[in-house]
């Protein structure tokens, strides 16, 4: 080999290795504004992840199990890697800035807020948001965190000091805009979505508690001052006195090129009876495109008409350009609680795959008028076949002396969108959804969607108001009773189990799937994770219900926590097969972050737990990198 050839070969090798370690950030909740949860890091492959090692672990101390004066904590924060720092929000609403390589704390911010479960059954946090102006100076880079009692805090990203020009001394009282039906505060549990110099902000409430509640809205806030640029309500003006919510409690996606933010809008209030809101509310339970500059609705696709199942649109839609029939389609992929996957053109809102409106069962509840038809995404197979109730579990039926089989005869189920009833209706998928706020991950190079789903069957009963107090007695939410004040019915909602708490439906209880969005084909659907009851693990073929979402990397690996068994895992993206796992402190119900810092690639998980999966809390942040 000549000198020149050797030099050229060395240059190419260097270039190739450099490409493998290209700098990557993780600056938003979903990795990027397109909510793809995709990392261009290529060093993590199904082969190399065997060499993953825990490089640091931090316990924040911000956790409570609910046994003392503090409510239980639920921690689902995606770590943000920006400004060569790892930022985290905690369920005590502190901001932590950590060294990405060591986990060492650089600074922390204490918001001095109330730690009370004002709207949620637990202290919840899904992290922080990051903004930078492009200029140098104090507060030209900022980190934002919201609190349960509706304050939004802005601090300098380098020091953690409050940014005095934001709101009042760095704190914005968002509840100043909560002026209609304000029977609970705007809880800011999901970090704002940052587009340019605008913070797009939704909030969480409790739409199961009251018939009349604050109408859901989207607020655009100046990132520097906290001033309100515009405000968009999702409830028609004339219906506001009698209903509420249709809020945005989860993350959003944005396309700065089109100047649009895509918002997943939840169901109106109350959740399980809609006699007070039989007039159309077209923006409720929808995915809606909103002009970032003006707040005008460009288009909206309602995914459920007259939602009486609490099937909120639960996650940011994923934006991806799809090659289909020789065309490049600017697409939007929306996963849903009911397990359907909608693919739309994100410029126009037109379906890329057809949406059929099929007849669905009528309601027999007093004053209720269920929609006669509902939209079905007909080309993409839904996750977990929501149209058919799972078979009865033989184990649960035998140990429950036939209770599960009896329940099938006793309760109402006529397919997806069977309305809640006084006799009891199977809610399948359950209210936690087939898919929830974690959403899916999409590899933009291949157009393949990766998605974790839960299979939980619940029973919902409408309890007439005149007997509710007697039936519910002293028991409340812990026994699944919710008053739905202002409606003629309270409800009881519970998982369909036998006396021993064994699920009455046959496994699997959770799956992981891949879809080719260019063809609509499901590539695989495999059980994912392991259930755990009383410490005992279920067989792998049972899978696990999941909360939190996946990340796909350029190396062909999926990183995901999400399952009951408190494992974090790497899957082979080609098959969904597990190729690596590690035990962490509690279920990692957060989307992991993947980043490159000082030339080394990391994946970071937050292990915070969620009582929907099991009563185990955590306050752990764990970082992994490849060893030698």
């Amino acid at each position: 080999m000549t000198y020149m050839a050797r030099t050229l070969a060395a240059f190419l090798l260097l270039a190739a290795s450099g490409a493998g370690a290209q700098p990557t950030d993780w600056t938003t909740f979903n990795g990027n504004l397109a909510a793809q949860k995709y990392s261009p890091v290529s060093s993590f492959t199904p082969e190399t992840v065997q060499r993953l090692e825990r490089v640091w672990s931090v316990e924040t101390g911000d956790a409570a199990d609910g046994s003392d004066e503090l409510p239980q904590t639920v921690w689902s924060a995606t770590p943000i890697y920006a400004n060569e720092t790892l930022y985290l929000g905690t369920p005590f609403y502190r901001i932590l800035a950590l060294d990405p390589a060591t986990g060492e704390e650089r600074w922390s911010y204490e918001p001095e807020t109330v730690l009370e479960a004002l709207t949620q059954p637990a202290l919840k946090n899904r992290g922080v948001a990051y903004w930078q102006s492009g200029s140098q100076g104090v507060c030209e880079k900022r980190v934002y965190i919201g609190t349960m009692n509706a304050t939004l805090h802005a601090v300098d990203a380098d020091t953690g000091q409050p940014c005095a020009d934001f709101g009042e001394g760095g704190v914005l009282d968002v509840n100043q805009w909560n002026t209609v039906n304000d029977n609970f505060p705007f809880s800011l549990l999901q970090p704002p979505t940052v587009v340019g110099d605008t913070l797009l902000l939704g909030w969480a409430g409790k739409d199961w508690a009251y018939a009349v509640a604050p109408p859901g809205n989207l607020m655009a806030i100046d990132a520097r001052t906290g001033g309100l640029k515009w405000d968009l309500s999702f409830i028609p003006e004339d219906l506001i006195p009698q209903t509420g919510t249709a809020n945005i409690w989860t993350s959003m996606a944005a396309d700065p090129r089109l100047g649009l933010v895509y918002v997943p809008v939840s169901s109106p209030s109350p959740n399980y009876w809609g006699g007070n809101r039989t007039d159309p509310i077209p923006l409720a339970t929808s995915v809606t495109a909103v002009d970032i500059e003006t707040g005008e609705v460009r288009w909206s696709q309602q995914l459920i008409r007259h939602d009486i199942w609490d099937y909120d649109t639960p996650s940011a839609p994923t934006l991806v350009d799809l090659e289909k029939n020789g065309e490049t389609i600017p697409a939007l992929v929306q996963t849903t609680k009911q397990g359907q996957i909608f693919v739309l053109n994100r410029e126009t809102g037109e379906p890329v795959y057809p949406i059929e409106y099929r007849p669905v069962p009528a309601s027999d509840a007093k004053g209720e008028k269920a929609a006669p038809t509902q939209p079905f995404s007909s080309a993409l197979a839904p996750t977990n076949d929501p149209g058919k109730l799972p078979d009865v579990s033989r184990l649960a039926d035998v140990t429950g002396w036939g209770q599960c089989s009896d329940d099938v005869e006793r309760f109402r189920y006529e397919g997806l969108f069977t309305p809640p009833s006084e006799q009891g209706t199977f809610l399948w998928p359950g209210t936690a959804g087939a898919n929830n706020w974690g959403g899916g991950a999409v590899d933009p190079r291949t157009g393949i969607l990766y998605l974790n789903s839960s299979r939980i069957v619940q029973v919902i009963k409408l309890i007439p108001r005149d007997t509710y107090a007697q039936v519910a007695g002293e028991s409340g939410a812990e026994q699944g009773y919710y008053a739905q004040e202002g409606a003629p019915y309270g409800i009881q909602l519970y998982n369909w189990t036998n006396w021993a708490n064994l699920p009455c439906w046959a496994p699997p209880y959770g799956t992981f799937s891949a879809y080719d969005l260019r063809t609509g084909d499901r590539l695989y659907e495999v059980p994912f994770g392991m259930t755990q009851q009383w410490g005992f693990y279920g067989p792998e073929s049972w899978g696990s219900p999941t909360l939190g979402g996946p990340v796909v990397t350029a190396g062909g690996v999926i990183f995901i926590g999400a399952s009951m068994d408190a494992r974090v895992r790497a899957l082979d993206a080609r098959t969904g097969t597990e190729v690596w796992s590690d035990l962490v402190e509690a279920p990692s119900v957060a989307i992991p972050a993947v980043y490159t810092h000082e030339g080394r690639d990391y994946v970071v998980f937050v292990a915070g737990g969620n009582p929907i999966l099991k009563p185990q809390i955590g306050d752990q942040v764990v970082a992994y990198a490849l060893g030698n």
Partner: protein
């Protein structure tokens, strides 16, 4: 015949030691945050069952019991070791599974070493 008696006593001693080892492993399962089963009912169950195994095996090894009582306790010990191994399997506590399988083998060896009373009187 002393050989048979010694063999049985040795086997029961081994069950005692394995029971105590299992107790330690069950304690780890119950208390260590890295076990994945800390504080769970399942870990408590194997803690109790290994403690019972160790105590019963020690009783059988060191105390002269009536034949029927000896047989009953030995049978229960074998069942205890087997059931604990199954429980440990579902706790994914593999070392505890192995320990209980060894205890099970030792318990079976003690059981099949012949009638204790009969051997002692010949």
């Amino acid at each position: 015949m002393m050989i048979t008696r010694n063999f049985r006593q040795t086997a029961l001693l081994l069950v005692t030691i394995l029971g105590l080892t299992g107790l330690g492993l069950a304690l780890f399962e119950l208390l260590s945050p890295t076990s994945g089963t800390a504080g769970s009912a399942g870990a408590t169950l194997v803690l109790v069952s290994t403690a019972l195994l160790a105590a019963t095996a020690a009783l059988l090894a060191f105390v002269h019991l009536k034949r029927w009582l000896f047989g009953l306790l030995l049978t229960l010990s074998v069942i205890d070791a087997a059931a604990t191994a199954v429980a440990a399997y579902f706790l994914m506590a593999n070392v505890l599974v192995a320990t209980m399988l060894l205890a099970l083998l030792a318990g079976l060896a003690a059981a099949f070493a012949g009638s204790r009373q009969g051997r002692m009187t010949t």
